[in-house]
């Protein structure tokens, strides 16, 4: 079971680096989607006994993070008619290297943290930390609004991964609430992206420096 969870977290880490190293916006969206699907499966493995609420949250996570949100983003992308991140503030190789060193650092750091014995062999903590850093790099290092949204999604995935540690403690209704918030947030961002595109003819957030009446 531990091996299966670690493999899934490893896939999520791979999706991080895919998002960091790719210049094509659809690939970044797809990386975030893959990560959402992979992370949605983990709660099922984490709880040995079957529980209908866990299954529901799991299916909800996979459906929303893996299909609904990416579909919304791809739609916004088609409407905005852009495909590439042309001039990122932080280049692709530096962001890849930051993501990779964050992953290595997180694995080393997690070895020194006073974790519960049942979390010791799992990659959940290093995975959460590395995903948080990757999301942050995407959020601050890119200029296109769509990549920043993906950074936000990946950041949230990191927080979700951290929350899985407390799966026995938190009511799953909280997780369902977060999922709903996330969907609404992406909805709003999709509308904002559309407005930015209409107003400025570009999704480059670097141009949003002056106020218009």
């Amino acid at each position: 079971m531990t091996d299966a969870i670690n493999l899934l977290v490893g896939l999520a880490l791979g999706a991080n680096l895919l998002a960091l190293g790719s210049s094509r916006l659809p690939s970044i969206i797809r990386a975030a989607a893959i990560q959402g699907i992979v992370l949605g499966v983990i709660p099922l493995l984490l709880k040995p006994e079957f529980h209908w609420l866990v299954a529901l949250v799991s299916i909800g996570t996979i459906a929303i993070k893996g299909f609904v949100i990416p579909a919304l983003l791809l739609r916004a992308l088609r409407a905005a008619n852009i495909a590439r991140e042309e001039h990122p503030l932080l280049g692709f190789i530096p962001s890849l290297l930051i993501g990779a060193s964050a992953t290595v650092g997180a694995v080393i750091l997690a070895g020194h943290l006073p974790l519960l014995p049942e979390h010791r062999g799992l990659l959940l903590v290093p995975g959460a930390l590395a995903t948080l850093v990757s999301g942050l790099v995407l959020l601050v290092g890119r200029t296109k609004a769509i990549s920043q949204v993906c950074g936000y999604l990946i950041l949230e995935n990191g927080i979700y991964l951290f929350g899985l540690l407390l799966i026995r403690g938190t009511p799953l209704i909280v997780e369902a609430g977060i999922l709903l918030d996330l969907t609404v947030a992406i909805f709003v961002i999709g509308i904002i992206v559309d407005r930015i595109q209409r107003e400025f003819d570009s999704l480059d957030t670097g141009k949003l420096t002056s106020l218009h009446e």
């Binding site: 190789i93 290297l97 990779a100 694995v107």
Partner: protein, 310 residues
Amino acid sequence: MNPGFTNHFLLPLLRGVLQIAILLLLAPLLPGIVNRVKAWVAGRRGPPLLQLYYDLGRLWNKGIVLSTAASPGHLVGPAIAWVAILGSAMLLPLGPGDALWSFKGDALLFLYLLALARFCTASAALETGSAFEGMGAAREVSFAVLSESALITAILALAVQTGSLSLTGMLAPVPNPSAGLLAAGLFTVLLAENCRVPFDDPNTHLELTMIHEVMVLDHSGPPLAVILHGAALKLLVFALLLAQAVLPLNHLSLLPATGCLLAAMLVITLLVGFAESLLARFAFRRVPLLLTTAFLFCLFALLTAWKGVS
């Protein structure tokens, strides 16, 4: 005859000669297979499988044309490079058979022999005084910085995984999940080190975009034959390294292991051919990104191996 002499001297000697002969004779077959795959995908008939053997024979009988700027280093460089690549091939085990030459820490010698071969090819290219060749040499060594770091990381991952410092011990992996990462990383390094598509196009004849081909542009006759054979041998060395780093061949007995190794070599060569047919070469500015990805694959294989041990 003294039986001790036969067992301790004559048999290993015979085995060594046989192993070197296999390496030398098999090497030019690999580019032949790659070219056949490319021709098949493109729907052409393609050159014969043994084309490189004919080319080598033809070049060996030709004369040498030398640039007036060239010093003897221009002729010595390819020879040293060929010997260095052969030396690195001798350090690799051949499936069931041990390496010809194995000691603790020979992985370092392996890396340095490959670096020496690269240095000699690049310096022989600079000898001609042609600006194009200098450009090719500059590209070759700047990409090498990245691909060598990936190769070193892969070797480190193998060393941590098996706890051995010699290539014979390292290339006997136990099946584990990091093999996939290592395979992806080493395959990319194989493509970069051997100047195949997407890093370089061995068929291009446009000086501005070539890397390896532009370095050997002014070589002719026997030195060019040596360079071509050395390049084929290098492809064989990397294919052997990749196959044996991933497949646990040492658990098999002699015949299945040899069969598996040969099949793996064929598969790798076919993959190179398909990559060459289906991919376009990358723009120069995108090459570092791909090589960094290869480095990261090897780095994560190292991380997995390290975490698996502790």
